[in-house]
Symmetry: D2
Subunit: 350 residues, 4 copies
């Protein structure tokens, strides 16, 4: 079976660039069709985009001609790095035109018939694709990954559901790359902290429960945990750090938490999907870890690192979790979603 | 009544420098005796210290000759900017020799007969001085101010005791000046976050309840709130930011919280003490505030700023608080303590 | 003589805010008319602007109603914090309508009949106003201050003209506030250096020679020094640092350079203008200084600090100079220009 | 031929850790003997060192037992990551005991009979080893690599010697990792610039000319270029950036400079040494490059990137150069030196 041509919507932006970097040399997918706003149409990618990642533009992408985001054109599978405003209209149009849209945008994450997927946690939610197609009359589909800080939280919570998660209180220290480009003005953040991110707390408080929820018939029963988030922005380039306190129904001890986290494996690991890290979560027992600069690239950016697991006098247990917000929290998440869909037959055309 | 000569123990360090800066032109106190380790003895201050604060060395201090920390020498009132190891032995020796030691060190904060003072909150705790003198046979005394992040938390909690504080969960984002000098290596913190500070969480979890506690006879009955702290270090120079979630016995609404905080006044305000800010707490209703760079110098560094008061799905109410860690959280705190002691007659010699 | 009402064009931007902060409580000028783009018209200033400076919005400005930038309306004297694109058209229109425009924009700095003023250096260049009025038929006028890094360089060079400056080679390390707001994306600069700033090197290489030039009849004879600039952007909020190497015709020694710099005074000092610092340049003989964080606020942001004066094996002499780019390099510069114009009778109406 | 066992002196420090990281999986060398101060003796490496690099401790090193730095013990080839004070005594003692010491310390760089080596530039300087052995009566030898900012400068100059380099003026913007650990206190550098580094300017001004010099008989004739350096420290983790202006005897144009730089190859490339990058210098023609964060890892940290080549009004030509200060500027440099020595037969024992 050969390599599958894929498209990237919004290929010139920060997440778009991360898609191209991660797809370079990918064993299953080839970025064959790069689309962005009409302003870029007809240009070569290297001229349309200002490459902002370390390392060179992948050579195949550099000379590719840019396309407009026209539904029906381009490959069956398209990754969407569109911002929400563009995604609102374009993603349904692509799905209606028969494309499978594997999206990083927030637009459809919380719709009942749209999978909000973390392949290690809720691969069975892909069954919503059939619901979605019936409900909307699409041949294609939209599958989404969560917000960049929700990913870190949801992954750290998933292996702990066995203890009965009742409430979760988290404070995020989020990297500037999470705001896209140009994103956060340097005047606001150099030597400073911004104690809030517009709309982010609501996303964390709701998305986590959909991901951790159980598919019952044609919809997801939200996980009942109550989540409260304080968000902050800090002068870090990549890597969202979360302090997390949890109240459980059956309070485990520190060793049980650590063991549950680090022994956790999901379908990506069982299937050996190309982007799956050997362990989705690594536990660091020593030192003041995780730290973005030291730990963000574990598992090529796909591993969440947890450290400082200890009792919380208020809720019961607390720890720190950290993950790469533009890889595990954006482009890498979507690619892993597509790899799972490929393995499970969701990319096959009839 | 004239200006009172005071000494500064540990005058060459970061907090010592902040003492000298704040005492420059002070209407009550004059830094007349500067002491540090024996290495500095006999040098002029300008040669013994590397001045690290913005602005010049106060001229009076610059040419002062350095003394060794010898109990019995120097003025009756001494401010201590010693680190805990030096303070362990020197502060009791000074108190035994008749000095009133107003200390920023952590060494004696949690001892039963030592006031841990925030003048707006617990001025009556100064009565412990008599207990202390009796118990230890000292003519002098030790009075302490809290840890730099505890100050911010305790001040934000004090006006809310009326609603019955049951539990408090805080995450701190602490500035590097809080670690003294040389403190945090830049290699560890530039573009990074360190998710923990050794010993700091325990201090916050215990000190706050002593400050908020009630003096009953000869000791302080700890406030019963349960406090849990996550500490982090961020690349900020001055200003500790805390996210705070609180569970109350009688849940107030956002407006009641805001009103309680900003209308709060204490004895320093009633007495118009020289270092007292007009309002100990300012509430910022708009924007993503407080931010260290924008708000740290309010009230010449003595005001705590609170913002983003909003419901917390888990504990009930949440907000962000921020204050200047080397002014309200260290040297300014000690000076305000001494101003209160002066006003209340604790500096008078028989 | 009473306080003079002034207008501020572009009052909501970063430099506009700095104007309002510096004019608050000014003994000569009162910010009575705040103008910005039509989007702001009719709003109160506090609603039209997002205040980004430390400290509160000056109360008088906070509730002022915003005006559109309509020539002929508003006070005779207007400060312009417009960006170059807006200034290109609006500043001449205001001058033609009779306003004296004291501008921070780059648009007209290098025009032959427009003073490019640093009051300590070339106060006599104000005579160009008459040339300008005759040539353009204006009742008003445009007077400009230099680019924010040129100010630092030109001030450090001015007292050294006596030694015959032949060539100057400088590398700038510029703060992010110099790029305005939103300016430099944090993703580009946190933990990084950007080795160039578009158009800036040309400005430094040409503006300095006009400022240091001699007024001969109706135009300025450019100073003959050859200037070469490397510009870089660094993660600093305020304060441009320049390394400077100079070749002189008559090589002075280090002491002669230091003495020439620190004894230098200009008309602002002789006239005791309100914004004039006691000494325009301070020389720091010890340590690795100047540093933005420690020295940027000297003279309330109007003093340039020079340090590390030492021989340069290539050009003869080298040192480091640093100044506040949005005060001495922008709003403070324009206000000092207007103070000089007031003292010299250029603001009187016939 | 098998893999050669090597020792690392000072294995627990920052450069020592970089040695272990780079030697992990090295095809020629195996870090078989790890030595540090007596404090570490007998501990496992993982307990003796606090690992500060991204990624895990190389597994082979983690459990290795630490040795004391005793000459005569350990493998014939030892890499030295000692600081200068320790190197002063230990390196000659190791050389006298028969070890070949490939050192990153500054102690012996400028001694007449010690090679100061950049394998692409002056591989023939290794002949000094024979001079050294005769003069000192050693069976072993000391070979050094230059200071971390000198490497960047010397490599950018080497291909341009053909045009006759007369004078060079450089300003460095140096990363904090260059100061080792704990190195620069964060209080001094967050949001700040330090305009000088003790002793560094002299090193740059002298070392470059030894490297570029010609071996004549038993000593190196220093290259006659006059070099002047301004050094600064900036809040960057890895990557020293240099602005460079050069006066040539025969002024080339921009294209000739670019072509000379990017076509330059040395013996490491011809021999395909394991650590040799394909091109020692890459020229970036577009954008504001090089930037530490984007370009520091080119050639696995062994490539110097040059950009913004343009005329300099003062000296003739100017550009920006950047390289990885702890790889090409320290541990990687020493390893490449040893690889060249191996290829040229200097590691063979009689």
């Amino acid at each position: 079976m050969g390599v599958i041509d894929v498209g990237v919507l919004g290929a010139t932006g920060m997440v778009g660039q991360q898609f191209l970097r991660l797809l370079d040399g990918h064993p299953l997918f080839r970025a064959a069709w790069l689309a962005a706003s009409e302003r870029s149409e007809g240009k070569r990618y290297r001229d349309a985009a200002t490459w902002r990642l370390a390392g060179p533009i992948p050579p195949a992408a550099a000379d590719a001609g840019m396309e407009a985001c026209v539904p029906g054109k381009g490959p069956q599978l398209v990754f969407s790095a569109l911002d929400a405003r563009a995604a609102d209209e374009l993603e349904p149009a692509f799905a209606a035109a028969g494309h499978t849209v594997v999206s990083n945008a927030r637009s459809f994450r919380m719709q009942d018939d749209v999978p909000l997927l973390i392949p290690e946690i809720n691969p069975e939610h892909l069954a919503l694709i059939d619901v979605q197609r019936r409900a909307r009359g699409w041949r294609g589909a939209i599958v989404t990954n969560p917000n960049c800080s929700t990913v870190v939280l949801a992954m750290a919570l998933a292996p702990l559901r066995q203890f009965g998660i009742r409430t979760v209180l988290t404070t995020t220290l989020q990297a500037v790359s999470g705001a896209g480009y140009p994103g956060v003005p340097s005047y606001d953040i150099v030597g400073n902290v911004i104690p809030g991110i517009g709309g982010e707390e609501e996303k964390i408080e709701s998305e986590a429960n959909k991901i951790l929820g159980e598919l019952r018939g044609e919809r997801v029963a939200m996980h009942p945990a109550i989540v409260s988030a304080h968000t902050t922005r800090v002068p870090v380039i990549d890597g969202h750090t979360l302090t997390v306190s949890i109240a459980f129904e059956r309070q485990p001890d520190v060793a049980a938490i650590a063991s549950a986290l680090e022994s956790w494996r999901g379908r990506p690991q069982h299937l050996s999907l190309p982007s799956a890290p050997p362990a989705p979560i690594e536990v660091e027992r020593e030192g003041l870890r995780p730290q973005p600069r030291l730990d963000v690239d574990r598992g090529r950016g796909m591993t969440i690192t947890v450290g400082r697991i200890r009792p919380c006098p208020v809720l019961g247990m607390k720890f720190v979790a950290m993950g790469h917000n533009t890889i595990r929290g954006a482009a890498g998440a979507a690619i892993l979603n597509a790899e799972l869909m490929h393995a499970d037959g969701w990319l096959e055309l009839d």
